[in-house]
Amino acid sequence: MIWHIAKRELYDNLNSLRFALATILLLGLMLNNAIVHLREHPVRVQKYLISITAARNALMARANSLYELAQKGPGKLYKKPSSLHFCAEGGDTFLSRTVEAKHGFWENGNLKSFWRMTYPAAMPNLTNIRPDVTKVDWAFIIGSVLSLIALLFTFDSVAGERERGTLRLMLSNSIPRYTVLTGKFLGALVSLSIPFGLAVLVNLLVFSMSSAIDISIDAWGRLGIIFFVAILYTCLFLALGLLVSARAQQSAVSLVILLLTWGTFVVFMPNLLPSIASGFSFPMSTDELQVRDDDINDKLWEEYFHQIGASKLGDMQAGSKYVTKDAAAQQWLIEERLNQQINQVQGARSITRISPAVILQYLIESFSGTGFERHLQFLENARRYAREYRKFVVDTDRGDSASLHLIGVRGAMSQNPVLPESIPIFEDTLSLTRDFNDAAIDFLLLMLFLMVLLFGAYLAFLRVEV
């Protein structure tokens, strides 16, 4: 019986104006998305490859001296661009593409400032005077456009039938009400999946025909998950539409309520909530960082100054201690500030999860390997690499018996040239298991929203008076 009702709904929809308009709109958007990605992605990959080659060459050029390697550090590390960038742009322009090993400028006799990992900010807006618009990515198409279309497909499904009187006719048959509701739901879902699936197919067809874009097996799997999430999200809005439609007396009223709900959750909450939420905590400011930086310098320098003068070896030992301590303390300060900043953003992000559109955005971001979580993963990779690199320097130095093993003093470290192949090389990787962990909460939240709304729609429909 469900299928009868679903089929009836489907035929109703297929012949309607909204079906045609939705198909055109979604197709247009997906084509646009594909064309832009085709144009931009090869450039992005090219840029990444050039940068990592340059960084690698710069690192290899230092291989003849272990001291140089230890003092200057591994240079610039680059974030690998995701091949699924078209799914979610994820604010990637505002997240830095690099982390950089930098050293301070002080130099004192044979001592030089050692490297620490710094996290430069990306400031694309500083010189950008073009008007600000959202990128047309999958997250936008699904989050904003598809959800709106889902509401337009369901706002009159109960209220409209009641107005026309067909609801009474249908319920006079001996069909349980939940069957009617499920049938309507499935009908709307199928009739919405057709234009969306078509648009997605066209989009992917463009990519698979082009030689410039290479989507791996893993990425196809991710695309499948994203498609599934999109359908789940659409169900959410269909359920909302059914719920309101069952409660409202007229379809016009139902539409107004739905549009307002949509506007609040999809348009305003993602824009308004972060500004409120980010006001709760204040990370260390640039000025404060500067002050604490200077404090550390002064304190360590004084300590060092009191220790030197006894013997040449003692001086070297104190120098080594000073240099390594300075680098470690500065690194700690930088990490502390970074963590405060990340916590502020995480706080803002968790509050915005009230909006299902934002949850969808985060889900698509984590599965397409863009956005903030991905950036954190990149930072984590860079940190792990930094540890590995430091360990490499110490181990290499230990391997040379002629060395005094005092890291930080040029004369007291191994003087042998380092094998270029033995230097660890940074490679940014994306791990799928971590994505699943990140996405689990978002996924459960989305499910929760869906359950509540479906249950609400069911109750509302049970109590509909015909």
Binding site: L17, L21, L25, G28, L29, N32, N33, I35, G90, G91, F94, L95, A121, M123, N125, L126, T127, N128, I129, R130, P131, D132, V133, K135, V136, F140, S144, V145, L148, L152, G160, S251, A252, V253, L255, V256, I257, L259, G263, V267, F268, N271, L272, P274, S275, S278, G279, P283, M284, S285, T286, D287, Q341, I342, Q344, V345, A348, T352, G371, F372
Partner: protein
Amino acid sequence: MLIPLIRRELLDNLMTFRFSAAVFITLLLVVTTTAVLIADYERRLERYNTSIETYRRGLRKWQTYSPGMGRLYVARQPNPLSLFNAGLDKRIGNKILVSPWFVPSLWDAEMDSLDNSFLNIFSSIDIVFIFEVVMSLFALIFAYDALVGERERGTLRLVLTHPVRRGYILLAKYISAMLCLMVPLLMSLLLAVILLATSTSISLSTEDFIRIGGIILSSLAYLSLFYLIGLLISSVTRRTSTALMLAMFVWGFLVLVYPNMIFATNVPQDTAGALASSAFNQIKQIYEQFDSARENFLANDTVPGEAPTFDMESPSGWTSGDGFIENQFTLLYYYWSVISYQDFYDSALPKVPYVQNYHGFLGPRMIDAAEQSWLVRKQALENIFVRPAVIGRMLLSLSPVGGYDAATQAWAGTGLEGIQDFFDAARQYRQAVIAYLYDKEAFASRLWFAADKSKVDWDTLPQFSFERRDISRNANRALPALFFLLMINLFLFIVISLIFVKSEV
């Protein structure tokens, strides 16, 4: 005849659910947003005030002219009307170095004390954005059944049996709906202004109120445009449900899709292109000439030692340096030179007149090179950055949202032109500082680099001040977009009345 018709329509509109929903939602959104934005603005204003103080102290630490020229910063004040339309106000840098070394432009400004750059991933919001989305939706909801609904119910036939001209009916519908739509618009703006007035840190001048008036005018034109689009749909369709569906898709296309699609297809700026590199080479050539003149001057010297200090020694140390700074991305290339002494050893004293001579030669050359390269750079920046932005803005203006955005930005003074005004002022200030330096004969003076005899009195330096341009300029800039909106309005109205007059009931 018109008055009773309007009264009837008004009553029809006012007693509906959609009207109360419109009022409630708009008020709620505008008030919350304004409260959030005011807090944000106050934070920015506080930072501005501390920055000014920091820059002042930073400059006064030096007692000679030369290092002061690398420390003379001006700060850009946040615009209180950015609450209405943020435009570029928060995006463009607000810390500008004013120095004889180079002519500052929008691309050389820094963002002062930006504490968490990650927060940029969240998009921000302003009052105009709310109107763009919500009010346009309401305008369409008010309009979609205005004609087709009456036709379906048969009341249109009834009205037309009276000796009323059809144009009057249309006009009455238009006027009454606009009156209804003005209620939430004006009420929410009034509340926003009241909130603004209660905040102590924001003081709005009379001119600002007129600018807000301009924003209201643009909002009305925008609203009316969407109402007319709805009316057009209503006049060509046969059924209410079709009209509604069409109206919603048109809204989705005009508000959500079109603006974003334009930019996706608009080719991004290419600064590594031929245009940029040729301009950059030209600028470099200017500085090569400058450098060879400098080398020439140094070749003829009899004093041992390297420029700019000529190895003068001092018991309390010194600050010095010189060199070239380049940024290929923003086409910035300049020569800088700093030298500062507190005192000298006696052995260095004979060199002082020569060093004075050198810097007296160098200063004006540096300024000349900066002015010359600015002529090239200005043109190139215009071609590389400004033109694509203007073209993008024009394409965007073809949608009502873009036109409305452009008009309100022009009124608020947060658009590109408004921001450029500030940089013009900064450049004028630079001229004033240079004139002051020439006037004091600072370059060739001992005070340029040595504070052993006397100290620079920074209080006599001209002060920087920036006033936003007067309203006529705002109006002038807003006019094209506003005019465009009004033109479409008129065009739509004529089309609708033609269709309506010809249509059968």
